[in-house]
Amino acid sequence: MKAFSRLNPFVLMIFFAAAIGTGVFCYVPAIRAVSLAGAVLSLLVSGICRKPVRELLGYAGIILVSGVINPVIVTLGNTPLFWLVGRPYTLEALLYGANNGMAIVSALLWFRLFSAVMTAEKLSFLMSGTVLSGFGTAFTLTLRYVPELIRRFKECCAAHRANKFAPAAGAVCGKGFLSRAAFYLNVFMSVASSALESSAQTADSMKARGCLLSPKSRLTTYSLRAADVLCAALSVTAVCSAVFASRAGRLCAAFYPSVKSEYPPVTAVMYGALCLLPVLFSIMESIKWHFCRPKT
C-alpha cells in the first residue's frame, strides 16, 4: 500500500471521490458489488485490518441486518418469501435492503482506507495556499481530537466506576436508562470542557510557533508522475462513463415490483479497474520488491 499512498494527494482525493461517489449514488447492484469487492480487497492488502475475518464478518452483518429489516417495513415486490403477521415478506424488498447495506459498507470501508492513506499532512497540503488553509489545520486538529476525546471519555468512566460513582454500580444515580444517560451526558460534558481547555493550550502553541505568519512554505511537495496521471485519468473516465450511461438511461436499477437492472459492461469494467487500483499498486509493489530486494 506504500506505492498507492505515495500518489499525489490531489489524485488520491479524486480517486476516493470517484470510488465512493459512484458506489453510493449508483443504485445498480453490480456496480455496488464491484465497489464492495474493491474496498474489501484493498483493505485486506493494506494491512489496516488487525482481525480481518472478524471485522469482515461484522460488515457482512450490517448488510444482512439491512437486508432483513427492509422487508419488515416495505411490503412491495412480486415474490413473497413468507407471510409475517398477515404481511408479505418479499424477496425484492430483501434485495433492496441488502443493496443499500452494500453501499453503506463499501462507503465505510473506503473511508477507512481514506483515513489510513490521507494523513493530516496530506490534507493540509491539499488546502494550503487556499482560503481553506485554516480549515485544513482545523481538520487536522479535529482528526487528532476525536480519538483523544474517546480515550478521555473511557478514562473518565473508568475513574467513576472505580469510585462507584457510575450508575452501573447503582450507588449514585440509581439504576435505569435515564440515570445512565444523565451520567454519560455529564461525563461527556466534562470531557468536552477538558477538550476546550486543551484546545486553548494548542492555540497558544500554534501562535507561539507562528501560525499567523505569512507567506508560509512547505516541507513536503508532491510532483505529478505518470502513475498519478494514469490514476486521475482512470478516475475521471470511470465517473464520466457512469454519468453518461446514467443520462442515457442505460445505468439504472429498479427493485419493485420485480428486480431489473441495466448497466453497460464498459462502465462496470472501468469502475472495477478503478476500485482495484490500490490492489494493483500493491501487487506491482510486491513484484518490484521481489526483484529489487537486497540479496544476501
Binding site: T119, E121, T140, A159, A162, N163, S190, R209, G210, K216
Partner: protein, 559 residues
C-alpha cells in the same frame, strides 16, 4: 549587555489584582536562569510575558528589554523564530499528527526554503535522538518523547543568519514526566545551553536537577521577587558569596524540599564551601562522623489485612503480555504503602484491579475479607483529578451522590482539614491550582468515608508545599484506621509519607519492605539522603534525618 532584562515589571489580569509586582531580573546569552516558587507565584505569567505572541491580556507596567530594545516592539517573525516556548502539557502543545510535521511546523510558518527546513530537521532529529521516531504519530509517543519533540520543535533559532540570539522559555516542562524521562529532558536542556549557546529560562517546582547548573536564580513568592541571584556558584559576589548562601536563602521557603540534599546540608550546617554533589557530601560525612539516627519505634503492621492478593494474572489483550503475572501481595490495615517500579510494570493496573475497574483472569483478591464486587469503602484518585470532577463547582461535585445526614458539617470539617476555603470550593475545577484540585478531589472521595484509598502518582506536578500538605492528609487518614496504597516515582515523597514500599517488576511484587529498609538498600529507587548516608548512618533516608544526624554529630564533637 544582557539578552533579556526586566525592569520594575508588574502585571495584572483584567479586573484582578497584581499577579506580578516589581520584577527585575536579567539573562545573558547562553545562560540558564532558574525561576522557582510555589504554585500561583506568577511564574507562568512571567514566562508568557517574555514571549509577545502568547503574552496574556492585561495591564502591564515596567520594561522588558530583549536584545537591546523593548520586547513589545519585537517583530513577529523574530519573536517566533528566536524565542521558543515549551509548556507543561506535551499533549496539548502538539499541533500536527506526526513528529516530522511537528518539527517542520515552525520553519514552514516562517516560510523558510524546503532545503533549509530539511537540513534543520535532519540536524535536530540527530541532536535530540529523534531519528527513530521521525515518522511516528505524536499520539503513539510516551510523555517524555512528546516533550522532547516539543523542545526540538522550538529549540534553535530558525532565522538566518544563525548568529541571531536564541531564547528558550520552559514552563515546568518536566512536571508530567516520570523521573527517568525528566532527567533525559534536563540533560538535553543543559546540552542546548552549553553547546548551542541558547539562553534558557526555566520554571521548575523541583529544582534538584538544575540547581547546581543554573547561572541565575529567581525566586518568586505571591507575585513578588523574593530574591534574584546572579552567578550563584562564582564567589565572591556582592549579593551572595556562593551557592550555600543561595541555598540558605531558600531554607524555610516552600522551595526548601526541592533543593538538592547536598546543598540543603551545606546550608543547614553553614558550611563555607558547598558540598556540590553526593560524593562530596559522603566524604564530608566520613570525615565528620555524624551521630546515628535516634531510636524510633519500628513500624509494626496491623495484623488485620486490608488487601489480600493471591497469584493474580491480568493482560489487556488475549494474546498479549501479562501485565500482572502471578502477583501476590498483602497490605495491612492502617498502613500507607508506596508502589514503585519502572513504566509498564503494572503499577496503575494493580490499582485498577483493586478498585474493581478491571478483573483479573486468574487468582483471587479480597478487600477487608470480601470480594472486590461486594466490598464498599474503596476510593481511587486517578493521576488526573479532573477525571472525577464533572460539575460546575467543586462544592456541587463533592455533594453529588453523597447521602450523609450532616453533609454541611462534614464538608466544613473536611475543608478545614484539607485547607480548602469556601471561595475555592465555589470555583470550577479548571480554575484551581494543582494542589487545590487534588485536595478537592480527595475531599470528594473522603466525604464518602472510604476505608481504602488508592492514589495514582498523587505527587505528580505538585509543588513542595502541596506535597507536604498531601503527606499530612494521608498520614491523618491512616491514623484514623484508613489504608492507603499509592503509586509513585518520587522516593523523597514516599520516604516522608509511606510506612512500607512495594517494588513491582515484570508483573510481580519483587520486594515488599518497610520504607526505611527499602530506601536504604535501593540503588536507583531511593532518596538522595539515603545515597549520601548509605553505610554511614544506617536507616537514614530523608534530608531532615541527615541534617539532624550531622548537627548532633558536630555538637558531640564540640562537647
Amino acid at each position: 549587555m544582557a539578552l533579556l532584562q526586566t525592569e520594575n515589571l508588574s502585571f495584572a489580569y483584567p479586573g484582578g489584582g497584581k499577579v506580578l509586582d516589581n520584577i527585575g531580573f536579567s539573562a545573558e546569552r547562553g545562560e540558564l536562569v532558574l525561576i522557582c516558587g510555589s504554585s500561583g507565584s506568577g511564574k507562568t505569567t512571567l514566562l508568557r510575558l517574555l514571549k509577545p505572541d502568547i503574552a496574556p491580556f492585561g495591564e502591564r507596567s515596567g520594561k522588558i528589554i530583549y536584545d537591546g530594545s523593548d520586547i513589545s516592539a519585537l517583530d513577529n517573525r523574530r519573536s517566533v523564530g528566536e524565542i521558543g516556548y515549551v509548556g507543561q502539557d506535551p499533549n496539548a502543545a502538539a499541533v500536527t499528527d506526526t513528529v516530522l510535521a511537528e518539527l517542520a511546523y515552525l520553519p514552514e510558518n516562517l516560510g523558510l526554503p524546503r532545503g533549509t527546513i530539511l537540513r534543520r530537521i535532519a540536524e535536530l532529529s540527530a541532536y535530540f535522538g529523534l531519528e527513530h521516531l521521525i515518522d511516528r504519530r505524536i499520539s503513539e509517543l510516551s510523555a517524555g518523547q512528546k516533550q522532547l519533540v516539543q523542545l526540538a520543535a522550538v529549540a534553535r533559532a530558525y532565522l538566518v543568519p544563525s548568529a541571531s540570539p536564541s531564547l528558550l522559555l520552559l514552563d515546568e516542562p518536566t512536571a508530567q514526566l516520570d523521573p527517568r524521562s525528566a532527567e533525559v529532558f534536563r540533560n538535553i536542556i543543559l546540552k542546548i545551553r552549553s553547546e548551542l549557546g541558547t539562553t534558557v529560562i526555566i520554571c521548575e517546582h523541583d529544582t534538584r536537577g538544575l540547581f547546581g547548573s543554573c547561572d541565575r536564580l529567581l525566586y518568586l513568592e505571591n507575585g513578588r521577587q523574593r530574591f534574584f541571584v546572579q552567578n550563584p556558584f562564582v564567589p565572591p559576589h556582592e549579593q551572595c558569596t556562593n551557592s550555600v548562601c543561595t541555598a540558605a536563602r531558600l531554607i524555610g521557603t516552600e522551595a526548601e524540599d526541592a533543593l538538592p540534599c547536598c546543598y540543603r546540608l551545606s546550608a543547614a550546617l553553614g558550611l563555607d564551601k558547598p558540598l556540590k554533589d553526593a560524593a562530596a557530601a559522603r566524604n564530608y560525612l566520613l570525615e565528620n562522623k555524624p551521630s546515628a539516627l535516634p531510636e524510633t519505634k519500628e513500624y509494626q503492621p496491623d495484623k488485620e489485612i486490608a488487601v489480600s492478593i493471591k497469584n493474580i494474572y491480568f493482560s489487556y489483550t488475549k494474546h498479549g503480555r501479562d501485565v500482572l503475572a502471578g502477583l501476590t501481595l498483602s497490605i495491612p490495615k492502617g498502613s500507607i504503602t508506596a508502589v514503585f517500579g519502572a513504566n509498564g510494570t503494572g503499577k496503575s493496573t494493580l490499582l485498577k484491579i483493586i478498585s474493581g475497574v478491571y478483573r483479573p483472569f486468574e487468582g483471587s483478591i479480597k478487600i477487608f475479607g470480601k470480594s472486590v464486587k461486594s466490598c464498599c469503602g474503596t476510593a481511587m484518585l486517578p493521576q488526573d483529578p479532573h477525571l472525577i470532577l464533572t460539575e460546575k463547582t467543586l462544592l456541587k461535585d463533592i455533594k453529588r451522590g453523597c447521602d450523609l445526614p450532616d453533609i454541611e458539617g462534614e464538608i466544613a470539617r473536611l475543608s478545614e482539614t484539607l485547607g480548602l476555603s469556601a471561595e475555592t470550593l465555589g470555583r470550577y475545577h479548571y480554575d484551581c491550582s494543582g494542589g487545590e484540585l487534588q485536595r478537592a478531589a480527595l475531599m470528594k472521595l473522603l466525604i464518602k468515608k472510604p476505608r481504602l484509598l488508592l492514589l495514582d502518582e498523587p505527587e505528580k506536578g505538585l509543588d513542595c508545599g502541596n506535597k507536604r500538605r498531601l503527606t499530612g492528609i494521608l498520614k491523618r487518614f491512616a491514623e484514623g484506621g484508613g489504608t492507603v496504597i499509592f503509586v509513585t516515582h518520587d522516593a523523597e515523597f514516599a520516604a516522608e509519607t509511606a510506612d512500607s514500599a512495594v517494588m513491582m517488576f515484570g508483573g510481580i511484587c519483587a520486594a515488599h519492605e518497610p520504607i526505611n529498609a527499602f530506601l536504604s538498600e535501593g540503588e536507583l529507587f531511593t532518596t538522595e539522603a539515603a545515597r549520601i548516608a548509605r553505610g554511614i548512618i544506617p536507616g537514614c533516608v530523608t534530608a531532615e534525618q541527615l541534617i539532624d544526624c550531622c548537627r548532633r554529630g558536630l555538637t558531640a564533637d564540640d562537647e
